[in-house]
């Protein structure tokens, strides 16, 4: 019966989307079966996971219900760094068909692996993502996510082909060509980062192209947080519906969760990724509806299972039924993270990386803050550093040298240009609790 909905021009149902509509009880059964299998697999093949299980006196048999997941140890981003490059693989390299990588906390990338089956699951969840955003067979999808080590490009590409859409693998950049192809190829859907699309809107206007008059009707945006204000701006200026999608390389890439026609939270593809919300301070599980850190367990990953991976993203789960009919639980859009990580020009940046650079040059950690701005669609990063007695000199040249060395140390670690400003002592606001190190002004005025 479900296949009768194939190619439904209204919202696009694809056979791959069937699990989106599973009754809750059937979904829980699938989850428990898969959870037990993935824990057994990780226990058998991943030394780090096995030793953490043994420390707690656990074996795979300890998992008798979904609630038992709370006894399992967390996995954190530094585990990927510490086992760089292949230490968390649960498959021999002969079964791995793909590697991707993304930036880590110390400049070393983290590596993620996929077996052929993993690529199939990824293609499926991305097809479900696109269907959930209203795409169907016959849509022309311009994929402006970056292709390469970044998971965005290839994830959306495989998902689009699985869905039966026509994929244009244009990748990011060359905005004038992007706009020409949107117009000349009758593109109906486009995916990229929301900030890049706002830049496309501006450029299209300069070129005299009115996006609202073109067939483009759907935008699929992810890989960075964006606001509802930005969504309204995009929808009004481009004459499209703009959807938020969520994913992270450590789990699979894009395809972990997606908005639907209701645009009220993102459905988690929880038949493959089991969500929990925890208190980021204590690690305790929080009841549904409460805000906390999202923790994900990959239920079907073969090459690199992640057990209770701490995403650092702050959200809450919505268990109420959704207007779209999907039974999958939703999470609220990510507004902030439990650490101060931010993404600039596709690079993940942690304030700790900036601190390491400042410390290396100055010997002590000065007060500093990071200011992010957006100028004509381009993100810029400035670092303000308070002058300390250690570096202060009565000579201009000596201070300019300090400024240059600080900027170079940061640029060396992050690989992106920063503007470094020396500021007066005590001029940066002190906070009572956790210092607010990052001022993000990129979405102001939108």
């Amino acid at each position: 019966m479900l296949t009768e909905l194939w190619n439904d021009a209204e919202g696009g149902f694809h056979p791959a989307s069937a699990p989106d509509f599973l009754p809750g009880s059937a979904l829980r059964e699938v989850q428990l079966r898969r959870l037990r299998a993935v824990v057994a697999r990780a226990y058998k093949n991943v030394a780090l996971f096995r030793s953490r299980m043994e420390e707690r006196g656990l074996t795979p048999e300890s998992i008798q219900s979904l609630a038992d997941i709370q006894h399992l140890p967390f996995t954190v981003k530094t585990d990927l760094r510490d086992t760089y490059p292949f230490g968390l693989f649960a498959s021999p390299m002969s079964d791995v068909v793909r590697l991707h990588a993304s930036s880590g906390t110390t400049g070393k990338p983290i590596v993620v692996a996929y077996t052929r089956e993993d690529v199939e699951v990824w293609s499926e969840v991305m097809a479900r993502t696109l269907a959930s955003c209203g795409l169907h067979r016959g849509d022309i999808l311009q994929n402006a996510f970056g292709y390469g080590l970044f998971t965005g490009g290839l994830g959306a590409h495989y998902g689009g082909e699985t869905l039966g859409a026509t994929v244009i693998p244009i990748s990011g950049g060359n905005t004038d060509r992007q706009i020409m192809i949107i117009r000349d190829f009758n593109v109906s859907a486009l995916c990229c980062t929301p900030s890049y699309f706002t830049h496309m809107i501006e450029r299209a206007r300069e070129l005299g192209v009115d996006l609202r008059e073109l067939p483009l009707r759907i935008g699929i945006f992810g890989a960075e947080p964006w606001t509802d204000g930005m969504r309204r701006h995009i929808e009004a200026e481009a004459g499209i519906k703009a959807y938020d999608i969520y994913g992270l390389s450590e789990i699979i890439g894009p395809g972990v969760a997606s908005e639907c026609s209701a645009q009220e939270g993102l459905h988690l593809f929880e038949d493959h990724f089991y969500p929990e919300i925890i208190d980021p301070e204590t690690g305790e599980a929080l009841p549904d509806g409460e805000e906390g850190e999202l923790v994900l367990t990959t239920l079907s990953k073969k090459a690199m299972p992640m057990i209770r991976y701490r995403t650092r993203d702050i959200t809450s789960l919505i268990t109420e039924p959704c207007a779209c009919g999907r039974t999958l639980r939703r999470m609220r859009r990510i507004g902030r993270r439990s650490d101060d990580m931010f993404i600039i020009r596709g690079v993940n940046v942690f304030p700790s990386q900036v601190e390491a650079a400042l410390l290396a040059v100055e010997g002590t950690l000065p007060h500093y803050r990071i200011i992010l701005t957006r100028d004509q669609g381009l993100d810029r990063m400035a670092v303000e550093v308070e002058v300390t007695p250690e570096v202060f000199s009565d000579k201009i040249k000596a201070l300019e040298d300090v400024r240059t060395r600080l900027a170079q140390a940061i640029e060396h670690i992050l690989g992106i240009r920063v503007e470094l400003r020396l500021v007066e002592p005590r001029s940066l606001a002190r906070s009572e609790g956790k210092a607010k190190r990052v001022i993000d002004r990129r979405n102001e005025g939108k």
Partner: protein, 145 residues
């Protein structure tokens, strides 16, 4: 023979110069001379004051980063070539000048310049050997009192 100079870090934006000057004025400390070096983004205020230790304490308590540097005051003939002659002497002795600025007061036909040397002790020796007048702190203070 050396003078103590105070240096302060300032951001290069309107109003930043006033605050430290007011802080020392409130303590009744008179500024004998000052120089301001600046870039597009920041500046360095250099001060010669009578009670430099008190001024330093006042400024530091108000939150400024204050640097103490020894500089040399030299009395030069206030006529064309007066400075050039002094510079020639310093150059001949391979003395490196980090920066210099003029003192705000004159004495008869003499002008006083403040020099920041890499090696102030050797600079003083060279200047004295060549018969130039190096003005010490007490003498400087006597002009303004």
């Amino acid at each position: 023979m050396k003078l103590q100079q105070l240096s302060l870090f300032l951001e290069n934006r309107p109003g930043r110069l006033g605050a430290p000057l007011e802080a020392i004025a409130a303590e009744g400390i008179n500024i004998l001379t000052l120089s301001l070096a600046d870039t597009a983004q920041f500046g360095i205020l250099r001060l010669i004051v009578r009670e430099w230790d008190k001024a330093k304490r006042v400024l530091e308590e108000a939150g400024w980063v204050v640097n103490l540097t020894e500089v040399v005051a030299v009395d030069l003939l206030d006529r064309p070539g007066g400075l050039a002659q002094a510079l020639k002497i310093l150059e001949g002795a391979n003395l490196n000048i980090e920066y210099m600025y003029a003192f705000s007061l004159r004495r008869g036909d003499k002008a006083i310049l403040i020099f920041r040397f890499e090696d102030p002790d050797r600079a003083i020796q060279v200047l004295l050997d060549k018969g130039l007048h190096v003005v010490d702190g007490d003498e400087l203070m006597s002009f303004v009192s």
